[in-house]
Subunit: 98 residues, 7 copies
Amino acid sequence: MGLKPIGDRIIVRREAAEAKTSGGIILPDTAQNKPQKGEVVAVGPGRVKPDGTRAPMQLKAGDKVLFTSWAGDEFKDRGRDGEILVMHEGDVLCVIEG
Amino acid sequence: MGLKPIGDRIIVRREAAEAKTSGGIILPDTAQNKPQKGEVVAVGPGRVKPDGTRAPMQLKAGDKVLFTSWAGDEFKDRGRDGEILVMHEGDVLCVIEG
Amino acid sequence: MGLKPIGDRIIVRREAAEAKTSGGIILPDTAQNKPQKGEVVAVGPGRVKPDGTRAPMQLKAGDKVLFTSWAGDEFKDRGRDGEILVMHEGDVLCVIEG
Amino acid sequence: MGLKPIGDRIIVRREAAEAKTSGGIILPDTAQNKPQKGEVVAVGPGRVKPDGTRAPMQLKAGDKVLFTSWAGDEFKDRGRDGEILVMHEGDVLCVIEG
Amino acid sequence: MGLKPIGDRIIVRREAAEAKTSGGIILPDTAQNKPQKGEVVAVGPGRVKPDGTRAPMQLKAGDKVLFTSWAGDEFKDRGRDGEILVMHEGDVLCVIEG
Amino acid sequence: MGLKPIGDRIIVRREAAEAKTSGGIILPDTAQNKPQKGEVVAVGPGRVKPDGTRAPMQLKAGDKVLFTSWAGDEFKDRGRDGEILVMHEGDVLCVIEG
Amino acid sequence: MGLKPIGDRIIVRREAAEAKTSGGIILPDTAQNKPQKGEVVAVGPGRVKPDGTRAPMQLKAGDKVLFTSWAGDEFKDRGRDGEILVMHEGDVLCVIEG
């Protein structure tokens, strides 16, 4: 998949609806909300700081994450019949370990 | 529970409705409001400052806290039949001691 | 009372409605407004500045204060049948002396 | 009167409605607007700057001033049957000399 | 006229409606709009910068100016049967020369 | 024409409606939109920076430009039966060369 | 095409509706949305930083990009019967490689 995020953006593949996570954490059961959980597919090089250097990124490809309900722009990925989101790293709430 | 907050976010397990706190502090009795009180379960590493270092966190796991009514994103924790909130540390009002 | 505010927040016990203050200053007589006056019960350690030190607080426990109409989050204090507010120090307008 | 403003706030006693000022400057004649003119009664110590020092105040008790229509929080002063406003110094438009 | 603006504010006497300016520049002919043109009567000492010094002012008394439609607070000047506006210098668009 | 913009503002004479530009770039054909194209007539000295010096301007009189749909304050120029706009340089999208 | 963006703006030629990208990434299939994909045609010199130097640009002419749904100002390009958008570089989500 040839998408390379710019700045502090990341690409997340959204998890299919209603899958339970380890430890039983599932998204709000409000029917209309899409899952706020997915896997990081690619991360950008980081935000350009005023001095021209890059702010370090905290996430990496493969991280499983929870993110805010309004995070990112949504695109259909027909190749894998799912959805990808392009969001700012700051819209990620936490990493799911194990 | 494998949730690791990023930046200055924390994870709070919301207290069950209407439990009185020591000293009689209970949340606004407006029926529809959920309790604004809970226990800190995990804290992030702190916000990344412009110079690349981290701002220190003021809270730690185990702290009992009061937080604002609009704080955080809510998730169901089926494992323990309750709710967890992922919020910014700045949405916490105060720590409940004793 | 075991509430310890964090950052630049303070805890204020709101004065009962319609009590006159010394010098005759009473709150706007608009019936629905609650008194914007009370006593500081506890102050936080101060806002964490970018350099990691704390900004000094200007108020202390025991100060009688006037505050803005939208200040803070409200909690019932059943122990003393009244209300406490957790607000930012910046929402305080002035200290009432004497 | 024992009111001591904090930070960059000031206390202004609002002039009674429709009094003409020297040089004929009167407030907008729109009936429902209260006069935007009054006398400074007390000034705060100044805003705390990031380096911890205080920004100097430009006004002093006794100054007669014009201020914006949305300036400040209003309180009744029964002692002198009038109104006082607690506002930020920045809400003052100009000083009326002579 | 004893009005002394504070900070970066200026006092402008609004030009009577529909007067043509040199070079034919008149304000939007939308009937309800008041002229956005006038003469600077007084300028403040300049905005106080974080280091305590003043930012220099770019305008001076006597300058003829065009300003934005939402600029400033309006006061009647009965002495000269006109209107004065107290605005920030930044609300001025340009100086009319010649 | 004696208009001298202040700060980072510029004066642009708006192009008459529906004129095609070189290369066929015309404005959105939505009937009610006025052309977002014109010629720079005058440029200000530049924005005053915190250190008191001026930020350099990127445009000059004579440049043909495209600008945003909400750019600037509009004035009729009866002398040349057209419209002038006073806008911030930042509201210009691009320069049309050749 | 003689358009030279200023500051950190770029010019993007929007892709014709519903064209599939390599890897099957297509825009949200919501009928009314125009494709959020296109090719960079020109990039500006970069944003002027407070110290007067330019922030480096991350994109270059020829890059294929995805951008946010609200990005930029739209212009018809009759020469090539399509649409160009003038947007800030920060409105680009990611580069499509290969």
